[in-house]
Amino acid sequence: MEWKDVFPVLAGGLVILIVALVVKPVLLGEPIGLVSPGPAAVQKPPVYVPPAPVPSATPFPDDGAAYTRNFRWTAIDGGVQTTQVRIPEALFLAHRETPQIADPLAWGRYAIADADRPILEDLAHRIAPPAGNPEEDYFRLMNLVFFVQQIPYELDSSTDSYVEGVIPRNAVRQGGEAGYSKYPVEMLVDGRGDCEDASILMAGLLDALGYDTVLLRYPEHMALGIRMNEFNPYYAKYTPKYFAYEGKHYYYVEGTDFDWVNISADSPVRRGKPFPIGDADGTGIPGVRSGTPEIIPLHYVPTPAEYRIRPARLPAGGA
C-alpha cells in the first residue's frame, strides 16, 4: 500500500470528524468540539433570609392619664364583691383607633391582645384568687363567668355602649346598624357591651388564668367555649352542650346574661345565679339551642398539613 492509497482514508476520516465536531454542533447550537452540552448558565440558589425582627411595642405608661372603673358584682356564694380597674387612656384610645378586624376567624386577636394582658391578668386574679384546693377551681371559674355575665348588655348601634357617647368611627356600618367589636379593656372602660364583647372579655380573662377557650359564633349570637373533659355534673337539669374542635371538647358558656329576678317588684336591683356551663338554652335564642357555631380559636396560627420534603434518588453515575 502506498501513501496515495492511505490519503483518501485519512481525508474521509477528517471530513467525518469535521462534520461531527463542528458542522453538527453549529447547526444544533451546541458547543463545538469534544465537550458535552454541559450545564446551562448555573445560577446560585438563593439563601435563607430570616425575617427582620419587629421592635416590641412600647408599653403604655402607668403614670399617664387613665380611666378608673369601679366594679361591683355578686359572687356565686351570694356575696357582693368590688374592685377597681385602671386602664391607661392611651391604650384605650389606641384600640379605638385600630381598624376593626373584618374576618371573624381572627377575632381571637381581640381577646388575647398583648397590650391588654397585664390588666386582664391582674383583674382575673382579683375576681378569682388562686385557690389552694384544686376542688375550688370550679368556683374560681364560675366567679369569673358570673362577673362578666353581670356587665350590662348594650347593642353596638347604641351610643350608650360607648363612653364617648358616639359610635366609634371605625365601627362597621351595615344598613342602619353599626358593628363594633371591643378589645377587653374597651369593654371595661365602657362598662357595657354586646354578646361578642362579653365573650371576648370573658375569653381574655379566662385565658389569663390559663383556661383553654374558644369563641362560639352563631349567626345571631356569640358565646364562649371552654375546654373541659367530660363535664356532666349530677345536679345539672340539662345535657351540657359542647362542640368538638381539633379533638377537644369546648362547653358552651353564656357571656351576656344570668338567671335573675328583681329583689322586689318596685326595685331594679336584681339577684340571681350564673347561667351554668353547658347550658345553651338560657339565652332563648333558637339558633343557639339547635345550631352549630363557627369555632374561633384564640391562639390561631394557620399551619399546613403537608410539609415534608421527600428525598429523590440520584441517577447512577451522577454526582
Binding site: 482514508v9 452540552p37 438563593p46 435563607y48 374576618d103 398583648d114 394557620p302 410539609y307 420534603i309 428525598p311
Partner: protein
C-alpha cells in the same frame, strides 16, 4: 440548406486495469472508513449520553442538597408548637413561615430552571420531566404558603386557611411527582442504552 452532420468518432476511454491487489486495497479502505465512522460515532454518542446523565445527576443532587436545607428550616419551625402563643409570638411564627416560603420558592425556581435546561438521553427524559414537575408543584406549594402568610398578616385568617388547603394539595402533587421520578429513573437505568434526544 444542406446540413451535414460530421461523423463523430467514438471517444477512446483510457483503459483501466485494476490489479487484484488494488481492488482489495480499495475494498479494505471502504470497510475501514465505514468501521471508523460507525465505531467513532457510537463512542461519541455513548460518551455524550454518559456526560448528559452525569450532568443531570449533579443538578438533581444540587437541588436535593438545597431542598434538604429548606426541609431543615421547615422541620425546625414545625417542631416549635404554635399552641398557646401570644399574639406577638403567633405573628413572629408566621413571619418565620413567610421567610421559609420565600426561601423555598427561590430554591425550587432556581433548580427547576437548571434541571429543566439539561439535555438528557431519551431514556431519562421521563425522569427529568417528573423531577421538573415535582419542583414546579413544590414551588406552587411554597407560593401558596407565602400567600397564606400575607393573608394572615392582613388578619384574613379564612383566606390564609384556604391558601394552605390549596398548598396541601400542591404538596401532594409534588409527592406524587417524586414517586413518578423514582419510577422513571429506575426504568431508565434498567432499560439499557438509548441514543440521546
Amino acid at each position: 440548406m444542406d446540413l451535414k452532420v460530421p461523423k463523430l468518432e467514438k471517444p477512446k476511454l483510457p483503459k483501466i486495469t485494476i490489479s487484484r491487489r488494488q481492488a482489495l486495497t480499495a475494498a479494505g479502505t471502504a470497510v475501514a472508513v465505514i468501521a471508523i465512522a460507525f465505531i467513532g460515532g457510537a463512542l461519541l454518542l455513548d460518551y455524550t449520553g454518559d456526560r448528559q446523565v452525569a450532568t443531570f445527576g449533579s443538578h438533581v443532587a444540587a437541588s436535593e442538597g438545597d431542598l434538604s436545607l429548606v426541609s431543615g428550616k421547615i422541620s425546625s419551625l414545625m417542631r416549635s408548637s404554635p399552641d398557646d402563643l401570644s399574639v406577638a409570638e403567633c405573628d413572629a411564627y408566621m413571619r418565620e413561615f413567610a421567610a421559609i416560603a420565600d426561601y423555598g420558592m427561590g430554591v425550587t425556581a432556581c433548580h427547576r430552571q437548571i434541571v429543566g435546561a439539561d439535555r438528557v438521553p431519551g431514556a431519562y427524559a421521563g425522569a427529568q420531566l417528573a423531577y421538573v414537575r415535582a419542583l414546579d408543584n413544590l414551588n406552587r406549594a411554597f407560593s401558596l404558603w407565602s400567600s397564606a402568610a400575607a393573608a394572615y398578616d392582613a388578619k384574613a385568617y379564612t383566606a390564609a386557611k384556604e391558601n394552605l388547603a390549596r398548598a396541601d394539595q400542591a404538596w401532594k402533587e409534588y409527592t406524587a411527582a417524586v414517586e413518578d421520578y423514582d419510577r422513571e429513573l429506575r426504568s431508565a437505568e434498567e432499560g439499557g442504552w438509548i441514543p440521546p434526544v
